[in-house]
Symmetry: C2
DNA sequence: GGTCCTTATATTCTTTTGGACTATAACTGG
DNA sequence: CCAGTTATAGTCCAAAAGAATATAAGGACC
């Protein structure tokens, strides 16, 4: 039992002396040319991060510092994501605790000239099964589905087999259930448990199952990214955070494409416009642009003052109903 | 600028040597006799907590241990709330970093015999302005409203005055805006900034403003509780977590009273029943009870299997519309 | 035993919302 | 000037959500 291992308050001095490391880690998101992107550093696929130091007033301010230093990008909107602190999440056997406080940050690519050592990666390179903008991707039907069924049926007892099949069906929308774009983390965990991604093999008796083609990340950064995607996909439905990703002036179609990029699914155009307009989140500037081809489009601007007036205003994708 | 103070990666050794303390802290919630309650320990109003130690596999398991040891209560549902880590959140001047990973846990009072050193406190004793079940409480209209306006008008420049008035109006639903029960944290922060709670005076030149009558908690535990309440009020709308607070068998009215206790507002009875029934979250047991007085009520049971079938099923209070 | 009170349960009506669809307008490029 | 492309406006319908009312079934009290 856990509580027998916790010790008493007298142990506190001993606890302090342990080797604890606290990291700040950022998932910086932008949408470039209709692709949702995440900021990475170095050669490997690594999220910007750095130790939480005593000089930092708050973790947020520390994070801003690290990201700006490592990537040259100033951060605007920041939101705490999750604190990862399980014992064997990093190195399996090292007697060291690594606590990572993760954050979701939203910016635009053009914000500043990035350093050479960082770059934007489409998040669908890490999660090719998450992009349903052109219908269900082939990798889901041809690769994931059979492998997951195989994994489910590989369980020793019938109850586990049933449970695994059910989880897979819900997460990926196999049987009657529909695709739910918010279940990014659950899907990643399934794929991980089934041993279908590279990082799943580390530190255990890896079954020689062939992998689902996708880019990996170091340590558990891919899990952190999955957490961020799920959170963002959920959040755009009830908070007007998309505008953090938009330039000052934009057309309604561009706004729609941005939301579609994030959610990974298409939206009905007239309904999207109606929703945006009736919420009064944006206002016309009077200017138009012909850069879109076809009839010139109105340029809109986000009404920043609305943030003060309405606390829970949302973008409300027309995706809600079952 | 923050990033100039962060140092480089070479500082890591020095960072490790710093005095960092990581705590786990729990907001354990139950609903007893129609009152939403939080579990506290000791004489003072203190949330159960303990240091995060290397023996703990995960923070969750560590938390379970501490709470069970300090209160005798085993925990069921646990969810990470927020990680508090600002520098001067505990002692003002000590050169020590305290990081608190906070969790929201849901149980029932009857779960087990609690230790003598712990007890349940109605959370409306800490937040008397949050209970709108009998209409807007007097303390909001008679005390908070005038004091907050006074505080807003005390600002030096006109812009700040306007902004403060607006924030107060939105958070408390003063002018045209309606009461939004999810804004618990925003309201606490306003009350805190205005110096109307006891703990606001610590470590700064406290203005001699009379306080709003309410119970306080040690350190920043009241803020953590506010965070938990807001999160829970939001969550019951889209996830069936209320049932963690219910006994195995219950009547629909009791379920409604529980939701009302949490959200702090009344719900239309027929609509609530319809909503619950059409979602198929519960099933009749066939048994009835006469303990409610009046016509005997059907006893229902939560359909636990629904959790496997539908990921995003919610309780959906009839509170959504503006 | 009947009356009244209490609570449970069923039903109706109406407004609002959100999803699908169609039509028209305005520009570009050949 | 015609085809193609995109922008914008409007209609229709089904589902959801709010409010209110009616009926059922027990207990308490006289």
């Amino acid at each position: 039992m856990d509580h027998q291992a916790t010790g008493t308050r007298k142990d506190r001095a001993a606890v302090k002396a342990e080797d604890v490391k606290v990291d700040l880690i950022a998932v910086v998101v932008a949408v470039n040319d209709g692709e949702p992107c995440v900021l990475t550093i170095g050669q490997a696929d690594t999220l910007p991060s750095g130790p939480f130091a005593l000089e930092h007033r708050s973790p947020q301010s520390g994070l801003r510092g690290w990201v700006e230093q490592q990537t040259g990008h100033p951060l605007g909107y920041i939101e705490q994501l999750y604190t990862f602190a399980d014992r064997d999440r990093i190195g399996a056997e090292r007697q060291q605790r690594v606590i990572s406080i993760s954050y979701l940050a939203l910016t635009r690519k053009e914000q500043a000239g990035g350093s050479p050592k960082c770059g934007w990666q489409s998040w669908y390179e890490y999660f090719p099964w998450e992009d349903h903008r052109s219908g269900t991707p082939a990798v889901v039907l041809d690769v994931l589905r059979p492998r997951l069924i195989e994994w489910a049926d590989g369980a020793s007892d019938a109850a586990t087999r049933r449970e695994r099949r059910l989880r897979a069906a819900i997460a990926f929308g196999f049987d009657e259930s529909r695709w739910n774009e918010e279940l990014t983390l659950q899907r990643y965990e399934l794929v991980y448990e089934a041993g279908l991604v590279q990082e799943a093999g580390i530190g255990r008796d890896a079954p020689p199952r062939p992998l689902v083609p996708s880019k990996s990340m170091i340590a558990d950064h891919r899990r952190i990214l999955a957490t961020a995607i799920g959170r963002l996909r959920s959040k755009i439905k009830y908070r007007p955070v998309v505008f953090e990703l938009m330039p000052p002036l934009f057309t309604l179609l561009r706004l729609q494409r941005t939301v579609e990029a994030l959610s990974g699914r298409l939206i009905n155009k007239p309904n999207f416009r109606r929703l945006i307009e009736q919420q009064e989140l944006v206002e016309k500037t009077g200017e138009t642009t012909t850069e879109t081809g076809g009839r010139p489009a109105q340029l809109y601007r986000f009404r920043h003052d609305i943030l003060d007036e309405r606390p829970v205003a949302g973008t409300k994708l027309p995706l809600t109903r079952a």
